[in-house]
């Protein structure tokens, strides 16, 4: 096969660009999930948040004709779904795993139903033109690097800023300190005067913002259309990436990029290599991003030795009986 078509200098920039496109929606959702899990909430509703964000951004952008309204609507719907998760998991303190799965099912049915009721059966399903790429002056003209980093659409820049913001909030602010405390020892945080439920609510809402933004990137920046289940399991991959990145937002984003670039690479190898005609099962190519990611997780875990998982992840927090107000 022609390796130059896959890894040659000319092929590298499109490969990295495709990798970034594939990584962005999953990466955003995963970074928000990382913050949420640091606060001790296992938010399995992520796929539902992504999907709702995708539908919200589609409806917003389609009806208004404005990409930005789409982004706002997507984030809004993502936050709404996250709020439902917070209501069940934080306020009512019910089993987080079950809440998450129920919400994913709910979002799957509700988005399909809404789309069908709004647009019906048609051979001309609605679509709009996706965001054009926005080349940053000077930086975008740097050979190679410029085309990958500074010649993307505006939403990609915003996404990168959002990931940086989550990192900054988590490690450089008082709120971030509370998040980390609440995820490790909620009782200790509580004793120190931190309102555990409020912090967890906020963490879930951040996860809603990031997941909604992820859905919006998929629709507004990449596809310009909506189909049932269009997020195709990216939310579940994102949850796996949180473990991959050992609950650190930047490492999680790095994992998303590794996954996306490997996915872009397998598509190119499959195409250049003759695909099924070579006798190599096509499933092997599709498994490649997962194999690479799992291999890195195993290596990273073995190397790091310490346990990065927040100690109270998945457990609802209830005050000791003696200290309860009611």
């Amino acid at each position: 096969m022609d390796w130059a078509a896959v890894l040659g200098a000319g092929a590298l920039i499109p490969l990295l660009n495709a990798g970034i496109r594939l990584a962005m929606p999953t990466g955003l959702a995963a970074v928000g999930e990382a913050l949420c899990q640091r606060a001790g909430v296992l938010n399995l509703s992520l796929e539902g948040i992504l999907l709702s964000g995708a539908l919200g951004s589609f409806l917003g952008a389609y009806y208004s004709g404005q990409a930005w309204i789409g982004v706002i609507a997507g984030v809004g719907l993502g936050v709404a779904v996250a709020a439902l998760m917070a209501l069940l998991s934080v306020t009512f303190k019910t089993e987080q795993v079950i809440n998450g799965i129920v919400i994913v099912l709910l979002a799957g049915g509700a988005t399909s139903l809404a789309y069908e009721k709004l647009f019906g059966v048609t051979t001309t399903p609605p679509r709009f033109d996706t965001l054009p790429s926005l080349k940053i002056p000077l930086l975008g003209s740097i050979p190679g690097v410029g085309a990958v980093l500074f010649d993307q659409n505006a939403l990609v820049y915003i996404s990168i800023l959002a990931v940086g913001a989550v990192w900054w909030v988590l490690y450089r602010t008082r709120f971030g300190l509370s998040v980390r405390a609440v995820g490790e020892r909620p009782d200790a945080a509580d004793a120190a005067g931190v309102n555990v439920d409020r912090i967890r609510w906020c963490a879930l809402l951040v996860s809603g913002v990031m997941g909604g933004l992820g859905g919006a990137v998929l629709i507004v920046a990449q596809l310009g259309l909506f189909r049932d289940n269009i997020t195709a399991g990216r939310g579940w991959v994102a949850i796996a990436l949180v473990i991959f990145g050992r609950w650190s937002p930047l490492r999680v984003m790095g994992g998303a990029l590794l996954f996306g670039i490997t996915d872009a690479l397998q598509l190119r190898i499959q195409a250049a290599g003759g695909g099924v005609e070579t006798g190599v099962p096509f499933e092997l190519f599709q498994a490649l991003p997962y194999i690479v990611t799992i291999a890195v997780v195993v290596a990273a875990t073995a190397w790091a030795r310490d346990d990065a998982q927040p100690k109270s992840l998945g457990f609802p927090y209830e005050k000791e009986a003696g200290t309860r107000e009611d």
Binding site: N99, G109, E116, G120, V121, T123, T124, I230, A264, L267
Partner: protein
């Protein structure tokens, strides 16, 4: 404890909403479908003298419509497989040949499909069309218990039983025919093909495209990518962009059309619409669509049911030659189709219709 109980109730309510949103959809379908024909509300004796006799004069219509239930595995507006099935039965409903109920069953496990089938069987449907390969096991299991009901499923290979018909998906025929045009239009001689999984129908469809292209360009080659999902639009689009980077400029797709069309649009290539006329999706890029005209297949079944000749059930194979499938060209296509390719296209189509040429089915190795 109080909080826990309220929470459990809230979770139950949320789950109830899920059930209601799914269940509610099929209920509205049930209510809406019969309203287009008056027959179900009247008794058999009254029907001819009141509604049907007034509406139509055709002699055949003095007979009662065949009660048909169509079960589909994705929404009826999926612009693909399920929509083709839905439109196929809809035509027959409008003709008055059948009474129609459409059920969306989004699960494929045998037990789940049985739950969908059982109430239909009790409601006295004459013909149940299970419009997915994945419904096969459930249909085969149920059919012997209801020998008076006619069943059909989308096996596509002749998997019939006494009262279970199978119907074909000869997509490779239309793909071959369209491939002739693609071979003429392509500047690079490299074609791209995408499919969700490497299943026989799709494999033959993709290979048929390049075989057709070789009628006019013997050096034409095919890059095929299997996505591993039927629903991942974004990944499919990336696959097409990757093919375009490697020279592909004319595309064919089996089941992952949304992403393929978006990829063709972005790379400026041409693409064959899938299953329904999709030219409106990308008027400059879609050179034609393979239209799966299932009404022909379903009409034969309904007529057999009415005539009492359904059993022993047949394999209904209605292809290019019998209008079960056709290529709908798009006049707005942005590139010129060379005259020699067009002439070859007409020639092969005429040969197929005359029964002089059988388009090859290329199976996976």
């Amino acid at each position: 404890m109080k909080h826990r109980r309220i929470g459990a109730i809230a979770a139950l309510i949320a789950f109830g909403v899920v059930a209601a949103s799914c269940g509610g959809d099929s209920t509205t379908t049930t209510a809406a479908a019969p309203s287009t024909t008056a027959a179900p509300s009247t008794t058999a004796a009254e029907a001819p003298s009141t509604t049907t006799a007034v509406v139509t004069t055709a002699a055949a219509m003095s007979e009662e419509p065949v009660k048909v239930a169509l079960i589909i595995g994705s929404p009826r507006n999926d612009l693909g497989w399920s929509q083709a099935g839905y439109e196929g039965v809809k035509v027959l409903e409008e003709e008055g040949l059948i009474d129609l109920e459409v059920v969306e069953a989004l699960e494929f496990e045998t037990s789940a499909v049985r739950r969908v089938l059982t109430p239909l069987l009790d409601e006295g449907f004459d013909l149940i069309i299970a419009h997915s390969f994945s419904y096969g096991d459930a249909v085969m299991e149920v059919a012997p218990e209801y020998p008076d009901v006619a069943f059909a499923w989308a096996g596509g290979f002749g998997g019939t039983a006494e009262n279970v018909a199978d119907y074909d998906q000869p997509f490779h025929e239309a793909s071959y025919l369209a491939g002739i045009l693609a071979g003429g239009v392509s500047e690079t001689g490299v074609l791209g093909g995408t499919a969700g999984f490497d299943i026989p129908v799709c494999h033959a469809m993709l290979e048929g495209f390049v075989l057709g292209a070789r009628e006019v360009n013997p050096g034409a080659s095919l890059i095929s990518t299997y996505i591993g999902s039927w629903v991942d639009v974004a990944l499919t689009k990336e696959a097409v962009l990757a093919q375009a980077e490697q020279g592909a400029d004319m595309f064919v797709t089996c089941g992952v059309d949304a992403g393929t069309i978006e990829g063709a649009r972005e790379s400026g290539g041409g693409v064959l619409g899938y299953v329904v006329d999709q030219s409106s999706l990308a008027p400059e890029n879609i050179f034609g669509s393979m239209v799966w005209n299932l009404s022909e297949t379903f009409r034969l079944m309904a007529q057999d049911v009415r005539a009492g000749t359904f059993t022993p059930a047949k394999f209904y194979s209605v292809g290019l030659a019998d209008n079960g499938l056709y290529v709908k060209l798009n006049d707005g296509f942005g590139k010129d189709i060379p005259a020699d390719a067009m002439a070859k296209y007409e020639e092969v189509l005429a040969q197929v219709q005359a029964g002089e040429f059988e388009i090859p089915f290329v199976a996976a190795e």
